[in-house]
């Protein structure tokens, strides 16, 4: 005990919080999680606090670790798809698409136009669903419960459509190598069209309800600021990167699928309510992305053409020896698959570059000096899914 005290004397005696200097007292170690609603899953953050101020935060990962990459080494190429579903279970369609693209690029498979349109459409619907989930849970993190219910009403419509398409609500196994499993009917397309109209109206209301609310702005503006250099240094991607004012979106900069044919903007943070790169900017980037996704879906609905939904793929897939790194833009950032094949029926090595794993690594950098409640706001704004962090 005495030893600890001596150590403390030699350390810095003050913590700087904003423009205030606060006397440092003995630190209290507190475990946030693994069963804590604000950590969005089974993340444990070991925080050392000085009264309300966080001095250090250490994320402990691995509570959901299933060693997916090892499993994949024993599965044939089609059998991997249900496994990648279970990484980011809130954006399974995007996970599957990234994997399918990786294999298709190696095989040189041509995907039919209709399947391309369906894939783009469902990926954007999935992005909306995922961002709605963020919107709802982020409001809960900050103490507002009703936005969650509104968000889930709209998310439910997307999930119902996916359920009709694939038979499952969360883990779809719908995007297959060479195309998609099932065709989409005209009646379902009509529903998507109606949904777009409704979603656009609703989202404006939702943003007024939460994003422009004084309490919400007070809780998120100037909190958890990530500068441009910091974002590059930690390899951040997705809305977290764009929230710091960096215009980088794979759909625009390195188009995959048929994204080069669509007209849409890449929203970036502008520091409207506070400093550039704060939690509010990250929130607002996601809200704007929903509108951009609606734009893309409308163009898909206009352009979709009749035809097959499955390309020509041999019954037993053997990927030629070699390797490939394929990046796609998921709702949470850049998802990369690094596939090494030795020409056999199973991948020799499949490494997943998970956006959340990279994004959560900035937490120890942001936390010192924050209030505990602000740390909750920061974790929420990074929007992690633990299934993907731990894999």
């Amino acid at each position: 005990m005495a030893n600890q005290h001596d150590n403390h004397e030699t350390n810095e005696d003050v913590i700087i919080l904003g423009d205030q200097e606060v006397l440092k007292s003995d630190l209290l170690t507190l475990n946030m999680g693994p069963q804590h609603p604000a950590t969005h899953g089974v993340l444990r953050v070991e925080i050392k606090t000085d009264s309300e101020i966080v001095a250090e935060a250490i994320p402990h990962l691995g509570y959901l670790h299933r060693c997916m990459e090892k499993h994949c080494e024993h599965l044939d190429y089609r059998g991997v798809i249900p496994f990648v579903d279970r990484m980011d279970y809130l954006a399974s369609m995007s996970m599957e698409w990234g994997y399918a693209l990786t294999i298709e690029k190696m095989l040189g498979t041509e995907v039919p136009r209709r399947a391309q349109y369906i894939r783009t459409m469902i990926a954007e619907l999935q992005r909306i669903a995922s961002h709605l989930m963020f919107y709802g849970t982020y409001a809960i993190d900050l103490g507002a419960f009703s936005p969650f219910l509104y968000a889930f009403q709209d998310r439910e419509e997307i999930l119902r459509l996916f359920e009709e398409l694939s038979g499952a609500r969360l883990l779809y196994n719908y995007v297959w190598i060479g195309g998609v499993w099932n065709d989409i009917s005209d009646e379902q397309l009509k529903r998507v069209e109606n949904f777009c109209y409704k979603m656009e109206e609703n989202m404006k209301k939702y943003d007024d309800l939460v994003g422009q609310n004084h309490i919400f702005v007070g809780r998120t503006a100037n909190v958890g600021v990530i500068s441009k250099d910091l974002a590059y240094d930690f390899g951040l991607t997705g809305p977290v990167l764009r929230g710091s004012g960096i215009k980088w979106d794979l759909r625009k900069d390195r188009p995959y699928g048929i994204y080069n044919e669509f007209d849409f903007d890449v929203p970036v943070g502008q520091g409207l309510k506070g400093q550039l790169g704060d939690c509010w900017d990250r929130y607002y980037v996601r809200v704007q992305e929903i509108f951009e996704s609606i734009k893309i879906i409308r163009q898909c609905l206009d352009g979709i053409e009749a035809g097959p939904v499955m390309g020509k793929v041999s019954k037993i897939i053997k990927v030629p020896a070699g390797e490939i790194y394929m990046r796609t833009e998921c709702p949470r950032g850049e998802l990369g698959y690094h596939l090494i094949s030795d020409g056999g029926k199973t991948p020799y090595r499949l490494k997943v570059k998970s956006p959340c794993f990279t994004n959560v690594s900035i937490l120890p950098e942001l936390a010192p000096g924050q209030m505990v409640a602000d740390l909750v706001a920061t974790i929420g704004s990074i929007d992690i899914v633990l299934g993907e962090v731990d894999r």
Partner: protein, 201 residues
């Protein structure tokens, strides 16, 4: 592009011995000597031409036949819109003598978690890492799961790993049983590729 990067690395760090490989299928990569990874990383990040400002991922692959471990550093430039697979090869070592390589945390801080994962999963020690611990498995876990010869430990802290009564062995033989009891080709709604056309007819 790869050749330009290779020439650049060789001019900046002559000891790196960079070699570009461009296969017929898939992505090409640059291999450098493991000892000079830190200099190469610094040179690539600070070059005005390539500006590799983002470290995307560090992958480890085990090659037991060659008794080597291959680390792949996937670098990207968000300003110049480039992507590079940078590879090093290390001797495989054994449990008590893991291969060593210099850490690149001083160049990209994203390497912190990536190197911890590589250490945890494939068993490579990163010299100079500020927080060299396991990240996904518990700190006292035994072995490195993504090595090809990994065998899961039987007992961990008095708990039996994969107890027999919890492993559903029947499912392991589901496919085999299906073939014995019924004709899989007759399963309704099963996926059909164009190759099946001849079988159907």
């Amino acid at each position: 592009m790869l050749n330009q990067i290779t020439d650049y690395i060789n001019s900046k760090v002559p000891s790196a011995n960079a070699v570009a490989t461009t296969p017929e299928k898939g992505d090409g990569f640059v291999t450098v000597k493991a000892e000079s990874i830190l200099e190469v990383a610094n040179a690539l990040k600070n070059s005005s031409e390539f500006e590799m400002n983002v470290l995307q991922v560090i992958t480890g692959t085990d090659y037991p036949a060659a008794s080597e471990i291959e680390l792949t550093y996937v670098l990207a430039s968000f300003t110049k819109n480039l992507e590079l697979l940078l590879k090093v090869r290390l001797p495989r070592g054994d449990k008590n003598n893991l291969p060593k390589i210099n850490s690149v945390v001083s160049v990209w801080r994203a390497a912190n978690y990536q190197e911890r994962e590589a250490f945890d999963m494939i068993g490579v020690t990163f010299v100079g890492h500020p927080d060299h611990r396991r990240i996904l498995t518990p700190d006292d876990w035994d072995g490195h799961p993504l090595r090809k010869d990994y065998v899961v430990q039987e007992v961990y802290r008095g708990m039996v790993v994969n107890p027999a009564h919890k492993v559903n062995t029947e499912d392991h033989f589901f496919g085999k049983k299906l073939k014995e009891t019924m004709d899989p080709k007759k399963v309704v709604n099963s996926w059909k590729s164009d190759d099946d056309a001849s079988v159907e007819a």
